[in-house]
Amino acid sequence: MTIQAKIKKNTYFDSVSLMSLSTRANLIEDVKQAMIGMGTDMNKEVIRNVGMGSKEIEAAGTGDLMITIETDNPDAVDTIFEEIDLLFTTKVKKPQKGATVYKSINQASQEIEESNVAIISVNGSFAAREAQEALDKDLHVMLFSDNVSIEEELALKKSAHEKGLLMMGPDCGTAIINNIGLCFANKVRKGTIGIVAASGTGAQELSVRIHEFGYGISQLIGTGGRDLSEAIGGIMMLDGLAALEEDEETKVIMLISKPPAKSVEIKVLEAVKNSKKPVVVYFLGGDEEAVTKAGGHYAKRSKEAAIKAVILAGAKEEELDTHPLNIPLVEEVRAKLSDEQKYIRGLFCGGTLCDEAMYAAMEKLDNVYSNIQTNPEFKLVDNNKSQEHTFIDFGSDEFTSGKPHPMIDPSTRIDRFLKEAADPEVAVIAMDFVLGYGSHEDPVGVMLPAIKEAKEQAEKDGRHLEILGYVLGTELDVQDIKEQTQKLMDAGVTISSSSQNTGLLAREFVLKGDSK
C-alpha cells in the first residue's frame, strides 16, 4: 500500500469544486482513496483520521492545495497524479447552443413567442389535455392522435371555436398551412384552391390531382374524420369554410368528407349557400340535388372534384389531361382472367382511397364487404378473412392498435396480400402506395418482394394475377414517384393514375359484361 501526498502551494479552489473533484478522483483506476482539499485544519484532521496523514500534509498552509492518494499499485502513482491534474483542467462539456429543452406546451409557447401551431400525436388518453393546453395558449391545434373520445373532441372544438382557433383532428392526418405540409401531406404548388377536409387521404388525393392539373393549394385544413358526425356538428368544417371565405388567396373552396350525418350536411350546405366563392362539394355518398340547390358544385368522385375546382379556378377543360379510363386496358385484363377469378381484393393504407374504390365497386356490384362498411350486413365477419369483393382499410383501428399507421409502415399488409394472391377466386388485388411527408421512404420497395413472389406463384399455377397499383404523390415529394412507379411496372403491376380510376378499373376488370 502506498500513500502519497502532493501539495500545490498557493493554489485556491473553493470547497464545493474540490468536493466534486475528490469524488471524481476516487473513480480513477488504481485509486483506493483520494482526497483533494485546501490545507485547513479541518481537512488535515479528516486526512489524519482516515490514516493518510503525512509530514507534507501537516506542513500545508490554508492557501495550499493538498492532494493525497492511497493505492495498492506503487507504479501507478505518477499516472494517478497526472489524471488528477487533468480533472482540474477538463471542463464539463457544454450542451450545444440553442438546444433548450422544452417539456410542456405552456413553457414552450411562452418562450417561443412566434409559435402558432401545436401538433399533438401522443397517446390518446393524454392527447386531449395537451390540445386544450395548446388552445389555452392561443395556439392552433392539429391533433394527430387517435382514440380521443367524441366528448373530448366536442369540448376541444367548442373551445377552439370560441377562441377563433383551428382545431384540426383528432385522427387527422393531413393539413397544408401556408404551403407547409403537416403530418401526412404531399408537396404541392401554392395556389388559389382551398380545401376543408374531413378525410386525410382524400385531401391528399385532391391536392395531388390539383397539382397535376397545374394548379395549387392556398390552404388545406383537415378537420378530423368525425367532424361531420351528428355529435360534432361540423364545427371545424364550418369554421374552416368561413376562414377560406375571408382568405384573399383562396378563390375556390373544396369540401370533402366521408358520408356526413344528414343534419350536418344540411348545415354545411346552408353555409355553402351563403358563400361568395365557388364551392366544390365532394361528400362520398352525397346528395347531388341538395348540393346543386345550395349553389355548390357537386362532385361524385375525387378526380371529378379536382377537375371542377381547377376549371372554377380558371383552367380550360379542353386543355386538361384528365386521364380518362383506359377501355382497351380493361378489355385486355378481362381476357386474361379465367371464369373462376371473380373477386376484387382492395388492400389500402389510405382510408378514403379505400372508401372511394369501395363506393365505385358498390355502384355495380352488390356483394362488397369491408372492415369499414357502415351497413352491418356488409361488414366483414372476420377482418382477417375476405368475403367475395373485399376492401380493407389497414389504417383502421382494428389493424393499428399497438402498431404504426400503414402509411408509415406498409409492411403490415404483406401477409394479407400473399393470402389474397394465393386465392384462385381472386381476379384483381388493388393497392395504394402513398408518398409525401410522414409516409414511408420507399412504400413500393416494402411490397415488391411479395409482389414478385405472388406473380411467380400464379404463373406456376397457370393463372393470371392482376395487381392494380396506385402511387399517390407528386414529382416534388421526397420519395421519387417515377422510380416508385417504375418499380411497380417492372414487377408487372398495372398502374392507375388516380384514386378515382383505381376503383373504376378494379370494378371494370371483374365485370365481364354481367353488371347489375
Binding site: 464545493v16 468536493m19 466534486s20 475528490s22 482513496q33 482526497m35 483533494i36 479541518m42 479528516v46 486526512i47 483520521n49 482516515v50 464539463v92 462539456k93 457544454k94 450542451p95 429543452v101 422544452y102 417539456k103 410542456s104 406546451i105 405552456n106 413553457q107 414552450a108 409557447s109 417561443i112 412566434e114 409559435s115 402558432n116 401551431v117 401545436a118 401538433i119 399533438i120 400525436s121 401522443v122 397517446n123 393524454f126 389535455r129 395537451e130 392561443d138 395556439l139 392552433h140 394527430f144 392522435s145 377562441k163 377563433g164 383551428l166 398551412i177 401556408n178 404551403n179 407547409i180 405540409g181 403530418c183 408537396k187 390552404q219 376562414a243 375571408e246 382568405d247 411527408y437 410522414g438
Partner: protein, 475 residues
C-alpha cells in the same frame, strides 16, 4: 383580422408533441418546429388525472385561482424584519423546559433517524435534563420530553432542527401581516448538534452560544429598534451570487455588516466581541438560518387560505418528507419517505454513509430561493454535477410548477427574472415535476456531522396525498 387569418399570414412555427418525424418533416420544408421532450401528465396515473380534472372544473378553478392569487400575494408582499434575538423559552409559542422541537413533520423518538437522535440527546444534556448521553437516551424514551415539529411553533430548524428552551432564537416580524417567526443560531462548523454530533465540544459550543454569542446578538439588536429588513439583504445576496440555501457567502457578509455597528456598541468586553466576530467568520453558514426564518415568516402569512393549492411548507425529519398546503388549515401534513441527497461528499465519505434528506431548510425552496434560484449561484454548480447552463435550466424549470415570479427577489443573469414563487400542488401533479432542493448531507450515524452536499427532491407521494385531500376539501 381573426386568428385563423393571422395564421394564414404568418410563418408557421410549430410546437410538436409526440412523434419526432413530424417536426423533422416540417424543418425539411424550411419552417420552424420545436420538439417537446414530453412525458405523460401526472406520470400517466389516470386516478390523479381524474382528481386534476375535478379541480379544473370551471367553478372550482375560479375559486382556486382566486385563493392562490391571495396566497402568492401574501408571500411576495411579506416584509420579514429581524427585530431581535432571545432564548426560545422567552419567545417561542408553546415552548417549555422539557420541550424539544425538531425538523420536519411529527415523529416519535423511536422512529427518529440517527442524526436526529444524536441531536436530541445532545440537547437533553445541554439543557441539564440528563447527566450524559446514555441517560439522555433514557430521558428521551421516558415520555417526559414533549417532541413537536418546529413548524408547528412558528419556527424552522436546519438539519435535525433540534431546538430546546435555552437556545437563542432569531425573532423575525412580518411588518406587512404582523406574524412572528423564529429559528435558532448557526453553530457554524460541520461537527455540530444539528447534524447529530453531540460530544463535549458540541455541548461546550452550545453553552458559549447561550452565554456569550446569543446575549451579544440580543443586546446588539436592542440598540436597533427599527430592526433589519431581511428581504433587502436577501435580494442583495442573490445579486451577489448566493442562492441562500447552500451558498451563504454574500448573505453572511451582508448580515454581519448590518449587525456590526450594534455589536460594537454593546457593553461586552473586547474579548467577547472578538470571539463573536471570529465565530461568525469561521463559516459562511452564519446567515443560513436567517434566510430560513425569513422564508418561514412570509410563508406562514400565506398559510390557511381556503381553496388554495399553494405549498407553504416543505420539511423533512430524516425519515419522512412532509408538506403543508395553504388550503388545508393548521397542521395537516402530507408525507412520503425522505429521499437520498445526491452530490459530492467530503473526502473519506461514500454515498452509503449518507443519512436521508433532513431539515426544515427546504423552506427556502418553498419560498423560491435555494435550488429554485440555482441560476444566480454559478459557483455552486458542481453540487449538481452539471454545467452552468443546466443550472440556469433548473430555475426556469421551476416556473413550471410555481405561480408567479417574485418581483422583489430577482436573478440578474436571467434578465432579472423573479424567483419562482408559490409551488402549486396541481402543477406538480400535472407535470410530474418535483421541486428541486439544494441541501447538505448528514452522516447517517449520530455524532458525526455534515459529510457532503447536493440535490434532492420531495417524494411525489406527498403531493399525491395533498391533491386527494384538496379535491375532497374544495367544493
Amino acid at each position: 383580422m381573426n386568428k385563423i387569418g393571422e395564421l394564414f399570414n404568418s410563418e408557421i412555427n410549430v410546437i410538436n408533441v409526440g412523434i419526432d418525424f413530424i417536426s423533422e418533416d416540417i424543418k425539411k420544408q424550411g419552417a420552424v418546429a420545436t420538439q417537446l421532450e414530453w412525458a405523460p401528465p401526472a406520470r400517466g396515473n389516470v386516478e390523479l388525472l381524474a382528481l386534476l380534472d375535478s379541480l379544473n372544473s370551471e367553478e372550482k378553478q375560479a375559486k382556486i385561482e382566486a385563493a392562490n392569487k391571495e396566497a402568492v400575494e401574501r408571500i411576495v408582499k411579506s416584509q420579514p424584519v429581524l427585530i431581535g434575538y432571545d432564548q426560545a423559552i422567552n419567545c417561542v409559542p408553546g415552548m417549555t423546559k422539557t420541550t424539544i422541537l425538531h425538523a420536519g413533520p411529527p415523529i416519535t423518538w423511536e422512529k427518529m433517524s440517527g442524526p436526529m437522535k444524536g441531536a436530541v440527546t445532545g440537547a437533553i444534556v445541554f439543557e441539564g435534563l440528563a447527566a450524559d448521553l446514555v441517560e439522555a437516551e433514557e430521558v428521551a424514551a421516558s415520555g417526559k420530553i414533549t417532541f413537536s415539529p418546529c413548524h408547528e411553533h412558528q419556527c424552522v430548524g436546519s438539519m435535525a432542527g433540534v431546538t430546546s428552551a435555552s437556545m437563542f432564537m432569531h425573532i423575525v416580524e412580518n411588518k406587512t401581516y404582523g406574524n412572528l417567526a423564529f429559528t435558532n443560531l448557526s453553530e457554524q462548523l460541520s461537527k455540530i448538534l444539528r447534524f447529530g454530533a453531540n460530544d463535549q465540544s458540541v455541548i461546550d459550543r452550545l453553552v458559549w452560544m447561550r452565554d456569550v454569542f446569543g446575549p451579544v446578538l440580543r443586546d446588539a439588536m436592542k440598540l436597533c429598534p427599527e430592526g433589519i429588513d431581511l428581504r433587502l439583504l436577501l435580494s442583495s445576496a442573490l445579486h451577489m451570487g448566493d442562492e441562500c440555501h447552500n451558498r451563504n457567502v454574500a448573505g453572511t457578509t451582508l448580515l454581519i455588516q448590518a449587525l456590526t455597528p450594534y455589536i460594537v456598541k454593546t457593553d461586552y468586553s473586547l474579548k467577547e466581541k472578538i470571539e463573536v466576530f471570529d465565530f461568525v467568520a469561521s463559516s459562511d453558514y452564519f446567515s443560513g438560518p436567517t434566510w430560513m426564518v425569513l422564508c418561514k415568516c412570509a410563508l406562514d402569512a400565506a398559510h390557511g387560505i381556503e381553496n388554495s393549492t399553494i405549498v407553504t411548507t416543505m420539511a423533512r425529519n430524516g425519515v419522512e418528507f412532509g408538506i403543508r398546503v395553504s388550503g388545508m388549515k393548521g397542521n395537516t401534513w402530507f408525507t412520503g419517505p425522505s429521499q437520498k441527497v445526491i452530490g459530492p461528499m467530503f473526502a473519506g465519505y461514500k454515498p452509503e454513509d449518507s443519512g436521508l434528506d433532513i431539515g426544515d431548510s427546504a423552506i427556502t425552496e418553498t419560498y423560491g430561493i435555494g435550488g429554485f434560484a440555482m441560476a444566480t449561484a454559478p459557483a455552486i454548480v458542481p453540487l449538481v454535477g452539471g454545467t452552468v447552463e443546466e443550472a440556469m435550466g433548473y430555475s426556469k424549470e421551476m416556473l413550471e410548477i410555481t405561480t408567479i415570479e417574485n418581483p422583489n427577489v430577482t436573478i440578474p443573469v436571467l434578465d432579472f427574472m423573479g424567483v419562482p414563487t408559490g409551488i402549486d400542488v396541481r402543477k406538480v401533479i400535472a407535470t410530474g415535476k418535483l421541486p428541486i432542493i439544494n441541501t447538505a448531507i448528514a452522516h447517517k450515524d449520530p455524532g458525526v456531522g455534515m459529510i457532503g452536499a447536493g440535490i434532492t427532491n420531495p417524494p411525489f407521494e406527498a403531493f399525491e396525498k395533498a391533491i386527494k385531500a384538496l379535491e375532497e376539501a374544495i367544493h
